[in-house]
Every structure is written in structure tokens, then in C-alpha cells.
């Protein structure tokens, strides 16, 4: 193979910017991220590109290639014609930092608002028992590499800045579903999803599912089942009565777990050594000190 491709790459920052034309060599078997690297090495040493593993596992190199949100490392050049002009732009829903890099802190803020896994009381480490079929539902969602393409493409926030406050986006609604379906999580998460994270904004257009590089069925397997559970609960008269009587979620009062993890070393592994013994077991030579 080996040819010169025509690229338009968005260059700029928060102040503004525009597409810049490049002609760049393409070799056999390359992906768009390879071309961005070649541009950096030969024509645009300061061009900002966020990437990491280059194997579709870390979810860093999200961009919009010919207007389609993609991972650049998973977009093969062979899917384009040799005379096709290829545009590469930063993902649109998040503020640009520079060139192809955007500020995705929105996602980290939302992640922090999802209440953490609530482990069952009185089950010691090592005594957790779950069946494979039960963990698989949540495991599907834990395949997520946090590329944020679903967050980027979701029309609730893509062109509606005002929805970013009440709506956590598919990635974090899916996280709530994941915890809700975790066999041992003891927290009720239905109200969380609806009241605190904006599940109601989602009108199941499946854009998130289509764009997911991990092929997670976000809409069908996470969002729709969550909506159904919320509805079941909302219209259940016993739950309604219960909520009137008991304040919601005593669980939230779980004290700050200041427990030292090494204080509870878990089941005996035949180790003669207490795990929390930090310090020398016996005097040793200076060579390894």
C-alpha cells in the first residue's frame, strides 16, 4: 500500500480554531491514530492528542472522524478510500482544551456522585459467594473503558449544556444499573437513578449503544431495565407506604469506614505472618535494605 492521504484536523483551543489541511503518508494496516502520530513527528510537533494504549483498551483517544465519534486507535485507514478527505475533530460535548483534547472532567464529577458499592454487612473478605450467571449481568457493564463516547453522543447533553447538571449520562446511569444488579450490593438504587441522576431524561434512542466500542448494550441491558424497576417501585403501594413511614435509606448513615484494611486480613491462607505486621520480621542484611 503506501499512499498520501488528505486530512483536515481541527487545531485550536478554548478561544477558537479551525480545520487545518495536511497531506500525510499512510502505510499498510494503519489506523487514524497512527496518522496523528506521524503528523506530530513530521509536521505538527505540538499537536495535542490524548491517547494511551493504542489497543482499544483504555478509551483515551476518542475523537470525531468524518463527524462520527470513534476511538482513533480502532479506526482502520482501510475503511476509507485513498482519495477520500478525512476530517478529525475533538468530541463535541466537552470543552476543548487544545486541538483534539477535550476537558472530560464532567464525567469524573458525575462518577463521584454515584454512591459507591455497599457491601453486605457481616460477610468477611474471602467469603463472598456469587454465581457466574448472576455476576455476568454487571460484568457486561464493567467492560466499559470510559472512552466517554456515549456521553459525547447522547443528545440529552450533546447540544444542551443546561442538562449537564441534572443528567449523569449513559455511562453513569449504566454504573447505577451495574451496582443495582450486583448480587451483593445492599443499597436500593432505583430512586437514585431517577431522582439524582436524571434517568427520566433518557428517551432510549440508543445512540449510546451504537457508539460503544465495547459493544455493551447500554440501552437494552442497563437503561431500560432500570426504567422498568423504577416504575415497578414507584407504583408499588407497599413501597409508597413504606417510604412514608421510614426515612429513605438508613444505609446512607453507614459511618465513614475508617477501618484499617490490614486490621481485617481475611481468611487464613496458611500464612504464618500477620498481614498487618509492617516492619522487619527479623534482622536482615544491609544489602537489601
Amino acid at each position: 500500500m503506501g499512499y498520501q492521504a488528505k486530512f483536515k484536523v481541527w487545531r485550536g483551543d478554548a478561544e477558537g480554531g479551525d480545520f487545518v489541511d495536511y497531506r500525510v503518508d499512510v502505510e499498510e494496516g494503519e489506523v487514524v491514530l497512527d496518522i496523528m502520530h506521524r503528523l506530530q513527528a513530521t509536521q505538527a510537533g505540538d499537536m495535542a492528542v490524548r491517547w494511551n494504549c493504542k489497543a482499544g483498551k483504555c478509551g483515551s483517544c476518542s475523537a470525531e472522524v468524518n463527524g462520527r465519534p470513534r476511538l482513533m486507535c480502532m479506526t482502520r485507514m482501510s475503511t476509507f478510500g485513498e482519495d477520500e478527505e478525512i476530517s478529525v475533530a475533538p468530541i463535541r460535548t466537552f470543552p476543548v482544551i487544545r486541538d483534539l483534547v477535550t476537558d472530560v472532567d464532567f464525567n469524573y464529577t458525575k462518577a463521584r456522585e454515584v454512591p459507591a458499592f455497599a457491601p453486605p454487612e457481616g460477610v468477611a473478605p474471602g467469603e463472598y459467594r456469587m454465581s457466574q450467571v448472576d455476576v455476568e449481568r454487571s460484568q457486561e457493564f464493567r467492560k466499559c473503558i470510559e472512552c466517554f463516547l456515549c456521553q459525547n453522543v447522547c443528545h440529552v447533553v450533546r447540544d444542551h449544556e443546561e442538562n449537564k447538571e441534572p443528567f449523569s449520562g449513559p455511562r453513569y446511569l449504566m454504573r447505577i444499573a451495574e451496582l443495582d444488579m450486583h448480587p451483593l450490593d445492599v443499597r436500593n438504587r432505583k430512586e437514585d437513578a431517577q431522582e439524582d441522576h436524571g434517568l427520566g431524561y433518557c428517551n432510549i434512542t440508543k445512540c449510546c449503544t451504537e457508539v460503544c466500542p465495547e459493544h455493551i448494550k447500554i440501552t437494552d441491558n442497563a437503561l431500560i431495565p432500570m426504567k422498568e424497576r423504577v416504575v415497578d417501585r414507584k407504583y408499588d403501594p407497599l413501597v409508597w407506604l413504606g417510604k412514608k413511614i421510614f426515612k429513605r435509606q438508613e444505609l446512607e448513615k453507614r459511618g465513614p469506614a475508617g477501618a484499617r484494611s490490614l486490621d481485617a486480613p481475611g481468611p487464613d491462607n496458611g500464612s504464618a505472618l500477620d498481614a498487618d505486621r509492617i516492619g522487619h520480621i527479623e534482622e536482615r542484611g544491609g544489602a537489601q535494605a
Binding site: 494496516g29 492528542v49 536482615r284
Partner: protein, 685 residues
């Protein structure tokens, strides 16, 4: 993420004079550099022990290289085979490292790994399960029993996400108490640390920059935990990401710590070889653990020809026996595809060299003829996708082409096994950046467990160190900040100099070609000459543009770290005149038991990398007794074998505890004649 930053008098006075080169200051108890498995586990431990902790990482939070780990976490929980326990795991680890391991680290690792894994479940991790609901464990190279806790072939992602979510959970507790998510545990992502700052001998802080803006930052902290991972970006064909530039190794050296075992670099036997742009990307060992076999261009399962003498009794000698092992491991020996990684990598290298390779210069890894398509996509889903989407190859329909790729550095910062403390007070290291644990070669699955066990110990060690400081807290001097700032700004101020990308490519090519999987003295001498030339060019690297998210500037600053670790690797590899684990000499092709007790240690003296010999302390007698004499004889010299339990009468003491004196005496520099196995290097017993 928010900045709990403080402005000091220093910043206020400097800011006017220097404009945008002002420095933002932050103060914490513990600064953890690196947000992979080791860094996050260290941060969690330090925070649980009441310390205010900052986590600093070059990538976004949750993108660390740990996500690339596929196979699993080695821990002798005994869920798949109840005969497994820490002693068996310890033995496997020492064998895998060819007995060069720091035995105390290997002991702690084997004993504590199960607890660290079980703990992850209390953070919300969801491992694959056994039929009775326990954590499932899979086979892996060098492990005598199915031992790797796993989640399909994305175990590293599960580990990172679990620890990331535990950090968030701790932040939620802090928020409930203080009203600020980051009051006690803050993540500074997309920051790079360029220098450790000291007050006298002790750590006082760390200096660096914020990648998106180029803002200069100084962290004031009496304890720093290095968890920066490895050095693979010094090689051209590597499974490592851009972050693996040896930062922690170089930071530690410049701060006065020592690196050991740097000659031992693991080349993973199965990296992708086609297409060229993905050359080096990992193909998980679980493909072989789950039944995949290696074949050459003649269709032969060639690994049967490469079982080394030391492993002769543990591996199957016929294809039938090897195949039976997958279903009846108790009555059959494992197939040689599951030999330790160094053995398999050398075998593939040799097959290709002798003309039995695949068209793209690898060999065939075949799983399609041994498993149904449905089973492959179930057990190896991310491998299926990786080949489908990166190479347009369907692994359920035909074999993969694979070859060795630079994967892991066994060498690293010399630490105290129990506390992860380096020789520099206040400086700790855990995970890949620390050395010793894996000896000359790491077993698959022992990396993730290493991160957890020693990450935890480093966090605890740092907290204990701070508790012992009392009122004598070190402070950062203005001079050290000024010097660090000058180094960082140099590439921007240089003009018309070298191109960072070109220099990097030359460095990678040099290491790949001359200090790669098979090494020769004359090639390594040439490599050192080339590295010295690069050392002159790197200070002249100039970059275009501003500091805001400028990858050219970032690379220019990483280059000096890559150069320093490359020098360490080349010097140590030239010095070690034997082949062992991740160090193969064409001119010294066999293992030499006299070299077993020799450690090669690098440090900086007047800015130059210096190499010294150091004795390996003798193994504690109860651990020594875990091995059979027949096996020990393959690795040890005769005079080291006294005192083994096989020597009657029992109760005679081995001279383990003289090791310190011995080692000190043997710590003699290369120039004055480090004679392997000579009188200077007794090494105990």
C-alpha cells in the same frame, strides 16, 4: 479536578518577575506518583491510615497501563485446586525468577496475595466464578496450579476500575464529613513529575507540570511513593504505552536511590506482529493457558523441543500428555507452551531465526482448531475484538501470528521488602518500578498481585514513616524549585535544536536492535556508545509552541528518563556474563550458578550512571527447606547448599544472618574487579 492549592510567599514573590513561570504549591502528607494498581492501592492504604494523600498521574484517572493486563491476578486461594497454598506459589515464583528473586518479597507476595484479592471483592470487584460461587482461577505459565483470579481477559481493567471506585468511595466519605470530596484524597490527573525535591537526605516534595496548561507545580510532602510502572518506551517493539518512560526509575536515581536487576527485561512471547502499526501489542498468555498452542510454519508444536533441563520433570514430553493436562492436571504434566515467558520468547525467536517463522516474522498461535468459536468469544472476548478490529483477523477461524515484544522490566528501585522504603528517607516504590520481587523473570499473573501486595505495604510504610518523623518535617528549598523549573523550561527556550521525536526513535531503535532479546558484548558496547551520543543531543532538544498540552515538550522532558534507564539496562546487561531469565547472552548462553548470588546495582555518581556488584543475601532456612535438594542443585553452587533439611541432623543453623556483612563486603565497584563467584562475593551460607 479541584485544586486544594496554596500560594506561598515564594510564589507571590516569583510570579511578578517570571510571569507565566509561576509555581503553584500544594501540601500533602503523602504524594503517590502513578495511578495504576500499585499507586491506587498505596493511596488507599495511606488514606485509611489517616494521611492526606495526593495521587498524581500522567494520563486521565483510570487509564493507567494496568488496564492492559489481561490474564489475571496470581493468588493461592486454592479455589480451583485445594492443594495450592502460599508455599507452592512462593516456589513457583522463585523458579520463574531463576532464584535471583528477593526471597523476602517473594514470600510476602505469596502469603498476602489472597487477602489483597479478597479485599477487592469488598470494593465491588466482580471476578469470574467457580461452580460453587468462589473466585474462579485459571492456569498460567509457570504456575503449578490454576491460580489466576480473572475477569475474562480484561482483569487489569477490573482491577483499575475497582480501585478507582474505592478511591471515589473514600472521597464520598470525606465529603460527608468535610464537605469537600478532595479534602483527604485528591487526584491530580494529567500532571507529570519531573523531579523529586529533598531537604538534606530526606524527601521534601516533588516538582512537575500540569499537562493541559503547562502550569508549573510543586508538591510539598515528606513521603513520596513511586508507582510509575516500567520502561518499555525505550524499546521500539513493546506492549507498553507512551507513559512507560522510566520516570520513577530515573527520579529515584536522581534522588539518590539505587536500581537493581536492570539487565532483566521481559520480552513477552506473544505480541501481535501484523499489521506493522500494532506490532508489539499484547496477546494474552491466557490464550495458551486455555488451550492455545504454538506452531511453526511446518505445523509443528515446536515448544516440545525447547524444554530446558531445569524444567524437564514438570512439563509434558508428548502432545497427548500435554492435551490431557487441560482436563486432568493431577495425573499429567503441563504442555511446554506454558513454560515461563523467557523460555517461550527465546524459542519463538529461534524458530523465526531458523526460517520456520510466519510471513510477518512470527509464529502461529492457534486456538481455532482447539475450541469452538462460541467458547473462544466467551473466554477470550477482548482478544477476539483486538484481532478483528486492529488486524481484521478472525481468531475463531484461523491462527494468530505472534512474536516477542518488550513487556516488563524486572529491575527497579531497591526497596526494603516489608515497607517498600528505598535508601532515600521518605521515598517508597511499589509495583513495576520496584525491583527484586521477580528476580530474573516474572511469571504472568504475578504482576497484578505484586501491585496490590506492595502497593498496600508502600502506603502503610509511608504512613509509618510519617508517624515516626515527629517535628522534624523536611521543607522544600527555593533553590531546588528554581533548579527544577529551569530544567523543565529548557526545551521551550532552546531554539533550532534537535527534534524530540527523531531522538526518541533513534533511542528505541538502538535498544531494540542492540540490547534486545538476544544480546552480544560488541552490540551492547555499540549501544552504550550511541547512548552517550544521544546524551549530548538530548539537552539540545527544542520544541515548538506553548506549554499547553504540547506533546513535543512532554516527550522532550521524558527523553532524559528513557536515556538514563537505557544506560542502566545496557551497562548491567553487558556486565552479566551468563544467560538467566530475561537476560540472554549469545556469547554466554548458559546459566552460571556463581552469578546467582550476584546483583548488579546502578546509581548516579556526579551525574554518571555507575554499576556495582552486590551480594544476594542467602535465603532464610525455613524457605530454603521448601525446596528439594535436587532442584536447588540446579541453581546453587555446592558451598551454598549446606544446612538444607536433607542434611541430618536437623537443627543445625544455616548462616543466613551473616548475609549483611557478606553483602557489604562484596559491594565493590566494577572497576576494582567484580569477580563473579570470587572470594569477594560470598553471599552467605
Amino acid at each position: 479536578m479541584t485544586d486544594p492549592g496554596t500560594t506561598t510567599a515564594f510564589e507571590a514573590s516569583e510570579a511578578e518577575a517570571t510571569g507565566d513561570t509561576a509555581v503553584t504549591h500544594h501540601t500533602y502528607d503523602v504524594v503517590v506518583i502513578g495511578a495504576g494498581g500499585a499507586g491506587l492501592r498505596a493511596a488507599i492504604e495511606a488514606r485509611l491510615r489517616g494521611k492526606r494523600v495526593a495521587i498524581i498521574c500522567k494520563s486521565l484517572f483510570g487509564k493507567a497501563h494496568t488496564v492492559m493486563a489481561e490474564g489475571g491476578i496470581a493468588a493461592s486461594m486454592g479455589n480451583a485446586n485445594p492443594r495450592d497454598n502460599w508455599e507452592v506459589h512462593f516456589r513457583d515464583t522463585m523458579r520463574g525468577g531463576k532464584f535471583l528473586n528477593n526471597w523476602r518479597m517473594a514470600e510476602l507476595h505469596a502469603k498476602e496475595a489472597p487477602q489483597r484479592v479478597w479485599e477487592l471483592e469488598t470494593y465491588g470487584a466482580l471476578f469470574d466464578r467457580t461452580p460453587d460461587g468462589k473466585i474462579s482461577q485459571r492456569n498460567f505459565g509457570g504456575h503449578n496450579f490454576p491460580r489466576l483470579a480473572h475477569v475474562g481477559d480484561r482483569t487489569g481493567l477490573e482491577l483499575i476500575r475497582t480501585l478507582q471506585q474505592k478511591i471515589v468511595s473514600l472521597q464520598q466519605e470525606d465529603f460527608a464529613r468535610s464537605g469537600d470530596y478532595e479534602s483527604d484524597l485528591a487526584v491530580f490527573h494529567e500532571y507529570t513529575i519531573t523531579e523529586l525535591l529533598k531537604d538534606g537526605d530526606r524527601i521534601a516534595g516533588a516538582f512537575g507540570y500540569r499537562r493541559p496548561t503547562g502550569e508549573l507545580v510543586c508538591f510539598h510532602a515528606a513521603a513520596v511513593v513511586l508507582a510509575t510502572g516500567g520502561v518499555g518506551k525505550s524499546f521500539k517493539v513493546t506492549s507498553n504505552s507512551w507513559e512507560y518512560t522510566g520516570d520513577g526509575h530515573a527520579l529515584a536515581m536522581r534522588a539518590g536511590a539505587k536500581l537493581l536487576n536492570m539487565e532483566f527485561v521481559q520480552f513477552h512471547p506473544t505480541g501481535m506482529v501484523w499489521p506493522p502499526s500494532v506490532k508489539g501489542i499484547l496477546v494474552t498468555e491466557s490464550v495458551r493457558g486455555d488451550g492455545g498452542v504454538l506452531k511453526n510454519s511446518e505445523g509443528e508444536r515446536f515448544m516440545f523441543n525447547y524444554i530446558p533441563e531445569v524444567f524437564r520433570e514438570q512439563y509434558a514430553t508428548s502432545e497427548d500428555e500435554g492435551d490431557r493436562w487441560y482436563t486432568d492436571a493431577d495425573n499429567n504434566r503441563r504442555p511446554p507452551e506454558l513454560l515461563p515467558r523467557d523460555e517461550v520468547a527465546r524459542a519463538i525467536n529461534n524458530e523465526v531465526k531458523e526460517g520456520r517463522g510466519s510471513p510477518a516474522g512470527g509464529v502461529y498461535l492457534d486456538v481455532s482448531s482447539r475450541m469452538s468459536a462460541a467458547e473462544i468469544t466467551k473466554r477470550l472476548p477482548s482478544m477476539y475484538h483486538q484481532f478483528k478490529e486492529l488486524a481484521d483477523v478472525d481468531i475463531t477461524a484461523g491462527p494468530m501470528e505472534v512474536g516477542p515484544t518488550c513487556h516488563y522490566v524486572m529491575g527497579g528501585v531497591e526497596v526494603d521488602p516489608d515497607t517498600a522504603a528505598s535508601a532515600v528517607p521518605g521515598l517508597f516504590a511499589a509495583g513495576e518500578v520496584a525491583g527484586g520481587m521477580h528476580g530474573s523473570n516474572r511469571l504472568g499473573g504475578n504482576s497484578l498481585s505484586d501491585l496490590l501486595v506492595f502497593g498496600c505495604r508502600a502506603g502503610a510504610g509511608a504512613a509509618a514513616y510519617l508517624d515516626g518523623l515527629g517535628d522534624t518535617v523536611p521543607t522544600v528549598s527555593d533553590e531546588s524549585v528554581t533548579a527544577a523549573r529551569e530544567d523543565v523550561l529548557r526545551p521551550i527556550q532552546n531554539s533550532g535544536g534537535e527534534n524530540a521525536y527523531t531522538v526518541h526513535q533513534e533511542l528505541q531503535q538502538t535498544m531494540n536492535d542492540l540490547v534486545g532479546i538476544i544480546r552480544k558484548a560488541d552490540e551492547m558496547e555499540l549501544a552504550l556508545k550511541k547512548l552517550h551520543e544521544l546524551a549530548d543531543r538530548i539537552p539540545r532538544v527544542a520544541v515548538d509552541g506553548r506549554r499547553a498540552y504540547n506533546p513535543g515538550w512532554h516527550l522532550a522532558l521524558d527523553l532524559r528518563n528513557m536515556l538514563m534507564v537505557s544506560e542502566c539496562i545496557a551497562m548491567a546487561a553487558l556486565e552479566r556474563q551468563e544467560s538467566r531469565g530475561g537476560h540472554t547472552r549469545d556469547d554466554y548462553p548458559t546459566m552460571d550458578e556463581n552469578w546467582r548470588r550476584e546483583l548488579l546495582v546502578c546509581s548516579l555518581r556526579d551525574g554518571e550512571v555507575t554499576l556495582e556488584h552486590q551480594g544476594q543475601p542467602a535465603m532464610r532456612s525455613d524457605l530454603f527447606d521448601l525446596f528439594e535438594m535436587d532442584e536447588l542443585k540446579k541453581y546453587y553452587t555446592g558451598d551454598e547448599l549446606g544446612g538444607h533439611r536433607s542434611d541430618a541432623p536437623r537443627g543445625t543453623e544455616r548462616g543466613t544472618e551473616d548475609a549483611g556483612d557478606e553483602a557489604e563486603r562484596s559491594s565493590t565497584s566494577v572497576e576494582t574487579g567484580g569477580d563473579p563467584g570470587g572470594e569477594l562475593t560470598g553471599g552467605g551460607a
